[in-house]
């Protein structure tokens, strides 16, 4: 596979990193190890998190979604990536510096945002209490006799 030749030195990827790449649909072990080599070094504290951030940043640049944080970009980018079947059609383009314009367009078209950004409104709970005299009557009716303890 062009651009994804594996070198013996690349086979340092940890199982979680390979799992992460599998979640994009990559299955072939050569491809997995080659792509793992493009991710941050495996000797850092939390390689999976570092990898998610790196992939997220790559997606944010590629998809022109600078306002997204890396995790959000990772999740949305992965969904778009799998939507266009990139893992089978263009595995070499994953994390590449240069990605064909046609692929970028297709990825952008495949972005699915389930909700708009939050624009909260205050919605206070409104009282439905009865007026004071009525409330007293209701309370009187609700009052239950205390259980009498036997001596």
């Amino acid at each position: 596979m062009d651009g994804l030749n594996t070198l013996p030195g690349d086979r340092q990827a940890s199982a979680p990193i390979l799992d992460l790449l599998r979640s994009f649909g990559f299955e072939d072990s050569n491809t997995l190890y080659s792509l793992a080599a493009r991710l941050p070094a495996a000797d850092i504290d939390d390689p999976t998190r570092a990898a998610r951030i790196a992939i997220g940043q790559w997606f944010a640049r590629l998809l022109d979604q600078a306002e997204l944080d890396a995790e959000e970009a990772f999740l949305l980018g992965r969904a778009a990536f799998t939507a266009v079947d990139c893992n089978r059609r263009r595995p070499e383009s994953f994390l590449a510096e240069e990605v064909p314009g046609e692929l970028v367009s297709r990825l952008r078209l495949s972005l699915r945002v389930s909700c708009p950004p939050d624009t909260p409104a205050v919605m206070m709970v409104q009282p439905l209490d009865p007026p004071a005299p009525f409330a007293a009557v209701v309370a009187w009716f609700r009052r239950r006799p205390r259980p009498v303890r036997s001596a």
């Binding site: 390979l18 799992d19 979640s23 969904a79 389930s114 909700c115 624009t119 409104q126």
Partner: protein, 688 residues
């Protein structure tokens, strides 16, 4: 194009209401005084007083509804929209230039195919009208069924693809459906309230034309004090005989009732929970619903939120209008009497909860009347039932206590107790007339207009359908009366009901199911008929309509869902409605789309199998998970159980719905699933 707040000079709302109440009170007083004459000299004062109280309580409500319908008939006949929000002036309908609007479709374990067919049809209609830029769609899921949830996500993805609606069609699920539908809408307001000027609330079976959706925004733009506009929906798409009966009745009589209601409610109207536009700022500032004090079923979250929200809007100084003239608003109806009763069970509990809202501080008197009317719509059944039972008990008491013509004290004249049968018959005729006349007015209104008559299939079919509807609804009425009475007693006794999905698809009910549900009513009917025939044969004809309905309860349920009968009635044009004869374009489009949606959403296996087979859907599910409300609130024990079961059996079918839901909210598990782990006993992963 310009919309006006008021159409033409007209009577003031106060005058209309004063007239309506004066007529209601007058006829109630007259009927009450006639009622007393029935028992003149019967020496049964306690019975008399009790029966009189029951009679008046039930009768005034009937009278109010009657005069309201008469007013509606006059308004329709005179083509008047007195003080209504105006019609638009001539000219094409232009897209709204301002007023960002969210169209909300709250769903709860619904069958996704018809829901998304409706959404697609409405989206396309707005797009064709060139108005789509002013609207955004929200599918607000409260589904508790994990499989339904994943189907909804797949449907949302497909809808975005079909109409290229990304960024304009949104999907959000709540982890916990706190406060049911009102909580669902409140969650929307709290999260995105400032993004929109208006929200159009739909039900899962709602459909509204582009013209109506656009006109509603224009009306809101031009009437700054209006908080809510309700468009009464027309029932469509019924297939069973029972459903078509409801559809026909609602279409034929509905205009008279809604025109009357709109006439005297005016800007102090009511809200029916869907097919309405709401000013978001007004709603957010006034309609945060509290939990009602006390235990369920009368306490807790408010189930029938719509009436209360309308009351709160009015309390906050906003207007609430009903605009029956607008049209283009549709909904569906339960297909069987059993499903109808199930829905009524939920509505009954919700309306009875309003007893605790009724005395709330600051509500307008008319809001209290709306709430009371809602309560009475269910309370009326046990009241009439008690009235009938007391009447029968009175007869029994009379049999057991022979009349004494010569009392033990000295008197010149014997005592001649009288039972004024003619007065009783006259009163019965008045009650029946008040029940039937509004229906007759609806029939006359349809018959009088040539185009309307043709739309119902012509004079002959319309008359035949009217008579069939009258007969069947008269037979069904006592069945519903007993069921409603049971619901009311059950609710007051403390037996609540859960929030269940409404059945919307027609299906035949077999004899066994009908017997197990309503067999007791048939037995009761037979017993009652036999008892009266033995003890008071002369009274049998009085009670015959009641007994006939009860005796026939089981066959009625079966026959009104029989596919053969339904098909036959449709073929010969019985119970035909204008929408059935000539379906609106939107309805046609929705029906065209539904089969393709069924094919798209056909998912063999459960949610987990489907996600593991559809990599994109799983990635999408993970991407939208953080956008769901309350998604981080973990069900730790359910999750542990689910992982344990999967680890032990590797079979997702072994999971309960709660366990499956917990897994679908758990990113670590889902990431594992995306990496090809998680199913079929990957023990190391599942126990991690």
């Amino acid at each position: 194009m310009k919309f006006h707040a008021l159409l033409r000079p007209s009577p003031r709302p106060g005058d209309i209401r004063a007239t309506l109440f004066a007529l209601t009170l007058t006829i109630t007083f007259l009927a009450g005084s006639r009622f007393l004459q029935i028992f003149e000299d019967q020496r049964a004062e306690l019975f008399e007083v009790f029966l009189l109280l029951l009679f008046i309580t039930s009768f005034w409500w009937l009278a109010l509804s009657f005069w309201s319908a008469v007013g509606g008939f006059l308004a329709l006949g005179l083509h008047r929209q007195w003080r209504s929000l105006a019609r638009w002036s001539s000219g094409p309908l232009t897209p709204p230039e301002r007023g960002r609007t969210a169209i909300l479709m709250p769903i709860h374990n619904e069958e996704a195919a018809p829901v998304f067919a409706r959404l697609q049809a409405m989206y396309e209609a707005l797009e064709a009208a060139g108005a789509i830029d002013a609207y955004e769609f929200f599918i607000l899921s409260d589904s508790t069924d994990a499989n339904a949830w994943i189907v909804e996500e797949a449907a949302w993805r497909a809808l975005c693809e079909r109409v290229r609606g990304e960024g304009r069609i949104f999907y959000r699920k709540r982890r916990r459906n706190t406060a049911y539908k009102s909580g669902n809408i409140a969650d929307f307001c709290r999260r995105w309230g400032r993004r929109y000027d208006y929200m159009i609330i739909l039900d899962a079976d709602s459909l509204m034309t582009a013209e109506t959706l656009i006109t509603l925004v224009h009306l809101m733009n031009d009437n700054g004090r209006v908080g809510l506009i309700q468009v009464p929906p027309t029932i469509v798409n019924a297939e069973t005989l029972f459903g078509r009966l409801q559809q026909f009745a609602s279409r034929l009589y509905g205009p008279v009732f809604t025109a009357g209601t709109a006439l005297w409610h005016q800007g102090d109207g009511n809200y029916w929970g869907h097919n309405a536009i709401i000013r978001v700022a007004a709603f957010a500032s006034q309609c945060g619903l509290p939990e009602l004090p006390g235990r369920k079923p009368l306490g807790g979250h408010i189930m029938s939120h719509d009436f209360v929200e309308a009351a709160l809007l009015l309390r906050g100084g906003w207007q609430v209008w009903m605009v029956p003239w607008l049209g283009g608003s549709y909904e569906e109806t339960p297909p069987t009497l059993i499903d109808h009763a199930k829905r009524d069970r939920r509505w009954c509990q919700g309306n009875l909860q309003h007893m605790r809202v009724l005395p709330a501080r600051g509500l307008l008197p008319i809001s209290r009347l709306h709430l009371f009317t809602g309560i009475m719509s269910y309370l009326a059944s046990p009241l009439w039932l008690t009235f009938l039972a007391t009447g029968i008990a009175f007869s029994a008491w009379r049999l057991a206590h022979p009349l004494v013509y010569f009392p033990p004290y000295l008197t010149l004249f014997p005592m001649w107790p009288q039972f004024h049968e003619s007065v009783a018959i006259g009163l019965a005729i008045i009650v029946i007339g008040m029940l039937l006349l509004p229906r007759l007015l609806g029939f006359i209104f349809a018959l009088a207009g040539a185009r309307r008559r043709v739309a119902y299939g012509g004079a002959l079919r319309l008359t035949g359908s009217f008579l069939l509807e009258l007969t069947l609804s008269a037979l069904i009425a006592p069945i519903l009366m007993l069921l409603h009475s049971g619901f009311v007693i059950g609710t007051l006794w403390g037996r609540g009901t859960a929030w269940r999905t409404q059945s919307r698809n027609g299906h035949a009910i077999g004899w066994n199911e009908a017997c197990s549900r309503l067999g007791w009513q048939s037995l009761l009917g037979v017993g009652l008929t036999a008892l009266i025939a033995y003890a008071e044969p002369n009274s049998l004809w009085w009670i015959a309509p009641l007994c006939a309905g009860l005796v026939l309860a089981v066959p009625l349920v079966v026959l009104t869902t029989s596919p053969r009968l339904s098909l036959h009635a449709t073929r010969i044009g019985l119970l035909r409605t204008p929408e059935e004869a000539s379906p609106p374009g939107l309805l046609v489009r929705m029906r065209e789309l539904e089969p393709s949606w069924r094919a798209t959403l056909k998912m063999p296996g459960g949610a987990l199998q489907h996600l593991s087979a559809d990599r994109h859907l799983l990635a999408l599910h993970l991407a939208i998970l953080p956008h769901h409300s309350d998604w981080r609130s973990a069900d730790a024990s359910l999750l542990a159980n689910a992982r344990g079961k999967l680890s032990a059996t590797g079979d997702p079918e072994a999971l309960s719905n709660g366990e499956l839901t917990a897994l679908l909210f758990d990113p670590p598990f889902l990431e594992g699933l995306a990496a090809g782990r998680g199913l079929r006993g990957d023990r190391a992963f599942l126990s991690s």
